[in-house]
Symmetry: C2
């Protein structure tokens, strides 16, 4: 962000000597830089609390480019949301649990999900913020509507095998399993601050987290066991 030449101060920019600086053309890089800065700001302050000027300041580029690429504040917010959902979807797709016995597969899925949430508090906070806004942007996003649900299929298949092998009790909905895993993974992260405030325990602390993780996995397995 260093300028070699002092910029003119008139409203109309100078003709010559504007900038001797050179720069590489890199649209993706600029978008990246803006998205990263925006994520930081939105995650920290929410949609209404985030300041465009603040995002611009965190960027390697300028406020000008934010509007150039994302149209307006909400467009930028939507882009951040979409990217985060893209990421967790890729994560879920990357799970390869088909080769494992059902109980191991389910325990592993629960563990992975727990870890993903614990490792990505930014994602958790964005989901919270989006829910505060009644998932309005999720609804208008064209990208998100088509995708998800894959995780439900994964769970359904593991569960089916588990029931067939007599390991799991029958009659449970795949969505119910997913919601239980999610709830137990999400809550510690989303409500970490209030839990610490009210009960004096920091669920994100490295000496407490593993215990909570084990409890979550055990709880899911016990929920399913025949």
């Amino acid at each position: 962000m260093e300028k070699t030449v002092t910029p003119a101060k008139t409203g109309t920019p100078p003709r010559a000597d504007r900038k001797a600086q050179s720069w590489t053309q890199d649209p993706e890089g600029v978008r990246r830089s803006i998205l990263d800065a925006a994520r930081l700001e939105f995650v920290e302050h929410g949609l209404s609390g985030a300041r465009v000027d603040e995002i611009a300041a965190k960027t390697a580029t300028s406020k000008r480019m934010i509007y150039y690429y994302f149209g307006d504040k909400e467009g930028l917010y939507r882009a951040v949301i979409e990217e985060m959902y893209d990421r967790i979807r890729r994560f879920e797709r990357g799970l390869d649990l088909g080769a494992l016995p059902p109980d191991e597969a389910m325990a592993k899925l629960a563990g992975f999900t727990f870890d993903y949430h614990a490792d990505n508090p930014d994602f958790v906070r964005m989901v919270m913020i989006e829910n505060i806004h009644h998932a309005r942007h999720l609804a208008t996003s064209t990208k998100i509507a088509t995708l998800n649900l894959s995780i439900i299929d994964v769970i359904r298949e593991i569960y089916r095998r588990g029931v067939a092998e007599g390991l799991f009790r029958p009659g449970i909905e795949a969505l119910d399993i997913h919601l239980t895993i999610s709830a137990l993974s999400f809550y510690n992260v989303s409500n970490r601050a209030s839990i610490r405030q009210v009960f004096g325990h920091d669920m994100g602390a490295p000496d407490i987290l593993p215990q909570r993780r084990q409890t979550a996995i055990d709880t899911v397995m016990r929920m399913l066991r025949a």
Copy 2:
């Protein structure tokens, strides 16, 4: 909100004929009215998204009185938060589970907690909002620090009895039990919008809620059973 006399339009208010209206002095009523309006607005738009003028409009009184009683926007927000925590604490204290056998007591507690969250989405949303702000206002509130924890004692006692009677397995922390119950109660409400958007199911719908409720209770009981 009817005025019998048209107010003067000068900056300096009129001397006479200001208002023939009479009103009863009712500080508590005015505070109530403001707090209710503020709750609606904060719950819907968050701390940064809420507009003081909008709160004033929802009030039976004026913006003037908001600052008169609560100092500033944050003071008002803090008052709303404190009141909500007061309410759930009273609810928790009101539970009388000591007379029931441990398993019944625990199931009833889980059910009550689930219902409280389902019936009070405003509370859930305020807790979300406060967590987005890292529970900063919970921390600075003098009222909240001293109180809670009673629910942990209730759980600890039920659990102790359950273990003594051989109904529950030993070695579980009371806080872990509470967090599990809370997570399973909170998540459906807090993430209702995104769940509906992504999976197409409205967890608050009257034909789905009871099933989710039962799953939550079952899950807690299975977590504990010896």
